[in-house]
Amino acid sequence: MTECCSKTAVDSIPAEPNPTASPSTFAWLAGTLAALTAWGLAYAFLQPAADWATALLPLEPGSHLAEAVAFFLYDTPKVLMLLVLVVFAMGVVRSFFSAERTRALLAGRHEGRGNVAAACLGIVTPFCSCSAVPLFIGFVSAGVPLGVTFSFLIAAPMVNEIALGLLWALLGWQVALAYLGFGLLIAIVAGWVIGRLHLEGWLQDWVRNVRAGAVELPGQRLTIVDRLKAGLDAVADIVGKVWTWVIAGIAAGALIHGYVPAELLAAIMGREAWWSVPAAVVVGIPMYSNAAGIIPVVEALLGKGAALGTVLAFMMSVIALSAPELIILHKVLKGRLIAVFVAVVGLGILAVGFLFNALFA
C-alpha cells in the first residue's frame, strides 16, 4: 500500500522547490505557522474551557442533562477544530492530484496492481459527487479496466479522509489505521472480484460507445502559496457545507452519551449480539449522512459499550453506500451491476464488522 501511494505522490511533487521564494511566500508560510500554533494552544485549553462553561450553567452535576450538555460543549469546538485542520491538510494534499492525472496513471494498468493503485488514489483524488459519472466514463473509455475503476469508486467514499483524520484524533491511531487498511482491502478485493466477473455488458449501452478524447491540460505549476490557498479553499467549501451535519451529529452523540443506558446499548450493539453487525449495515445503507457528522455518534456509541466492529460497519455503510450516489451511478450502470456493487461492498463491510469485533475484544 505504501508503495503505490508514496510513488504517485513523489512523482507529482516538483523536483526542486521554488528557488526564488518571494516575500509573499514567506508571509504565507509564517501566517500558516502562526495559525497552527494558535490552533494548538486553543486545542489544549478546550477541556478546561468546556468544564468552566458547564459549571456556569444551573445544572445538577452528574444528571443526564449535565452529562449531555458537557459532551456537547466539549465536543462541538473540538470536532470543528479537528475538522478544519484535517480538511486544510487534505486540501493541500489534493492539490497534488487531479482526476485527469489519476486517469492517466491508471490507464492500461492491469488488474491486481491496478486495483491496489486505484484504491490508494481513490482516497486522495478530489472529485465531487456530480463528477462521479464523467469520471466513471472518463476512466472506462480511457482503457482503465472496469474492476480497477470500481476499486477507485469504492475507495473514494469508503475510506473517507475526513473520517480517517477524525478517527485518529478521537479514537487513536490503531482504529484509524485499521479503518484505512480494511477499507482499502475491501476496495481492492471488491474491484478485483467485479473485474473477474467480466460485467462490461452490464454497463448502460451508450457508455460503451463513448469514445473519449485524451486531453492535455495546460501545465499548471502550482506554488506553495497556491497549495496553501487550495487548503483554505477546501476549508471554506467543505466546512462551510458540513458544519450543520457535524453539530447535528454531536447533538445526537450528546443525547446518547447522557441518556442511553449503557446496558441497553451493550445488549443491542455489543459483542455478544452477533446479529448486530448485519443489522447495523441494513440500517446504515439508507441513511445518508456526512462522514464528519457520523463520527461524534460513533464516539458516543463506543463510549457506551458498543462493539468497535459493529460501529465501524454502521459508519462504513452510511458513508460508502448512499442512495443518491447509487441513483447517479444508474446513469452509467445497469441495475444488475449496481446490485452487484452493493452486494460486494456490503459483504466486505460485514466481514470488517465481524473481524473487528473478533480482533478488538
Binding site: 487531479s98 465531487c128 463528477s131 464523467p134 472518463g138 486531453v215
Partner: protein, 77 residues
C-alpha cells in the same frame, strides 16, 4: 466572439462556473457565447474526467473544481 462551452451535468458548481466566465467577460468587454454542455457522452468526448470543465474555441482549458477569476481573465485575453 469567443465560443465557450461549460461542461458539467448541471450541478451548482457548473452554474457558478458559467456565471464566473460571463462576469469576467463582461468586465473585460470580451464578446462571448456561453453554451452549457450537460450531456454525459458529450462531456466525455472532450476527454475530461472531472467537472466543471471549460472549453474555449474548441480547446479544453480547465477541468475539475471552480476556476480562479484571474485564470479566466487570462484565457479570455
Amino acid at each position: 466572439m469567443k465560443d465557450i462551452k461549460v461542461l458539467g451535468p448541471g450541478c451548482k458548481r457548473c452554474q457558478t462556473t458559467a456565471e464566473m466566465v460571463q462576469t469576467e467577460a463582461d468586465r473585460l468587454g470580451v464578446a462571448v457565447a456561453i453554451e452549457k454542455v450537460t450531456d454525459y457522452a458529450a462531456i466525455a468526448s472532450f476527454g475530461i474526467a472531472s467537472t466543471p470543465g471549460i472549453v474555449i474555441d474548441g480547446k479544453v482549458v480547465h477541468a475539475g473544481g471552480l476556476p480562479k477569476a484571474e485564470d479566466i481573465a487570462q484565457w479570455l485575453a
